[in-house]
Symmetry: C2
Subunit: 352 residues, 2 copies
């Protein structure tokens, strides 16, 4: 019993066939006689050979079968967002046909690159998630390596296929819905305005410092209808962050809006809670809208009036773009539409 693992050459020799034949038995790329196949498999079993070494195969093929998924924050944080989770499912689905795995990558930490994964990961393609401050760097790195990239919910220039949502229009629909109900005094809760941002009212200055596309576009959508609606930025897309924002918005009984537009369902759930704290009945005293159309665990029987976005589809589209690019085909950018869903959290303002 030798110390080194058997190679396909060993198997071939032991089976009395050529290495190429043995290779083909495993890859199935060429017909092989049953007798030969059996001999090879037997030899493999005997030698404890469990198939071609993926490292060698990927060098030879020029492909690793791995797609990188690049996030900015801690992984656990990224997956807090239900939309991201759904997207991952769609992505996994779409790359399954080419048998690709998903490698979790964190965007280069600022300054140095200690664990320079982006520069050394054996990936065939990459999916950039979200429009992040470091995206430009990541993109440059990837491009230098000649690795195809697709961006989800971000803008990486004309040459990079993107998968996006009609954020502005969708958010505008929600605002229009409120206006048609008769609301004139609304406020909004936005997603974080930058990678690292404090909660608080968005003034003119801060308005111009919004680096997160999604946040800006949805804000614009509201402003299309309510140009002067005050906006409060949350620190994350979570119920707790929404609760905090809701308290800030609803705290002053003298100066309460009749409706709050939250930029995500999770935030809206928090606003709902804040409303309850303030003794407000939704939708009678206050209307609340969300965004995403996910199932917020534990929110029932409330059903948010929201825009349902095809999150899984977005991931699938990104995956399909990757597959296309790896097949040397063109990958078009795609923009998905969100669908209005009326729940039980919106109604005409009191006294209208």
């Amino acid at each position: 019993m030798s110390t080194r693992r058997a190679t396909i050459a060993d198997v071939a020799r032991s089976a009395g066939v050529s290495p190429s034949t043995a290779s083909v038995v495993f890859s199935g790329k060429t017909p092989v006689s049953d007798a030969t196949r059996r001999r090879v498999m037997d030899a493999a079993a005997t030698l404890g050979y469990s198939g071609p070494d993926p490292r060698a195969a990927s060098l030879r093929r020029g492909r690793s079968g791995i797609v990188g998924v690049v996030f900015q924050g801690p992984l656990g944080t990224a997956f807090l967002d239900p939309v991201i989770r759904l997207m991952m499912d769609g992505l996994a689905d779409a790359v399954a046909p080419i048998d690709a795995g998903l490698l979790l990558l964190r965007e280069g930490v600022e300054g140095d690159s200690p664990g320079a994964s982006l520069t050394t990961a054996p990936i065939d393609a990459a999916v950039l998630v979200g429009c992040t401050p470091g995206m430009a760097d990541s993109l440059a790195t990837l491009r230098a390596r000649g690795i195809p990239v697709v961006v989800v919910e971000g803008d990486a220039g004309p040459d990079v296929p993107r998968v996006i949502l009609d954020n502005r229009e969708a958010q505008r629909s929600l605002a229009s819905h409120l206006r048609s109900l008769g609301h004139t005094d609304v406020a909004l809760v936005t997603l974080p305005t930058s990678g690292q941002s404090d909660p608080g009212w968005i003034d003119e200055r801060r308005r111009h410092e919004i680096t997160v596309d999604v946040t800006r576009h949805r804000l614009d959508g509201v402003r299309d209808v309510y140009p002067d609606a005050p906006a409060y930025a949350a620190t994350a897309s979570s119920i707790d962050a929404g609760l905090a924002a809701g308290r800030a918005i609803l705290g002053d009984a003298q100066q309460r809006p009749t409706a709050v537009l939250a930029q995500s369902d999770l935030l809206a759930a928090g606003v709902l809670r804040a409303a309850a704290e303030c003794g407000l009945t939704v939708p009678d005293d206050l209307s609340v809208t969300g965004f995403d159309g996910i199932d917020v665990d534990g929110l029932a029987p409330s059903l948010l009036t929201t825009m349902v976005q095809p999150a899984t589809e977005k991931g699938r589209a990104a995956g399909e773009a990757v597959v296309a690019m790896l097949a040397e085909r063109d990958a078009p950018s795609v923009c998905f539409s969100s669908v209005f869903r009326e729940g039980n959290t919106t109604a005409p303002p009191l006294g209208s």
Copy 2:
């Protein structure tokens, strides 16, 4: 301008050095004179060479720098569990020093293996998450490939390092707490009893079909104190599943327990909601305990009485085990202890 990408040999030639020297400039494994380094870097820049091809490097080195993380269900579902998310963070942390990436892998689908990722992924080690039905198969595959494995919350036999929790003892602490408060009539809500299971009461037969270690051990912990406590199995660890279970348990006003032990905080949050539906005040009319000690988004101001488990630490330990094994060192199994935390959801039963 040739069509093929520059290799390290091209760079070396262009810089007037040997390939080995150029290689060393990039790997930093051996001192190189400043002048030489500069020449090589310049040549690389000129040729658009962005560093060694990871595929070739990994073949040569015998290492890919990738650690596989094996789940059973859809990725998005796995990440629903906050404990898993935290574990991923710890894991990512622990493998960062060896600059390893995390590859998401799904346990072989039943029967055939269409996208046979486990058999062909270029991974140096693998982390199996949870005790799943298919674990034995995955393990066999990995073992045949000679890939080191560590299991989190599962049992893969004596040779496989494991990272586990004192589930039974921890759950027993909670039960003891309730007993010491005076509760004699308790019920419990368990995690799913198998990969695919319906919700419902656990009878003697089903009791023996529990394939999920965590579920069984925590159940045992309760039974150590309350041998006859009825148990209701949830379909998932979520607020909604806990709500459903809570309704089943609390629905009959004539036959209500005075306390419910849920096997996860999310489930407990659902039970809390069910209690509210039934008009019960917690903890006066009903005591509820959780398990995990996570921050349930939106649960405040309720604070569950629960066992706080070091989820991130578990991931870190798994990562450290991987690092050890890759360094040919022994990786010990570790068992973490959970810490009792008294919240505001438990109290003596009414009239005691």
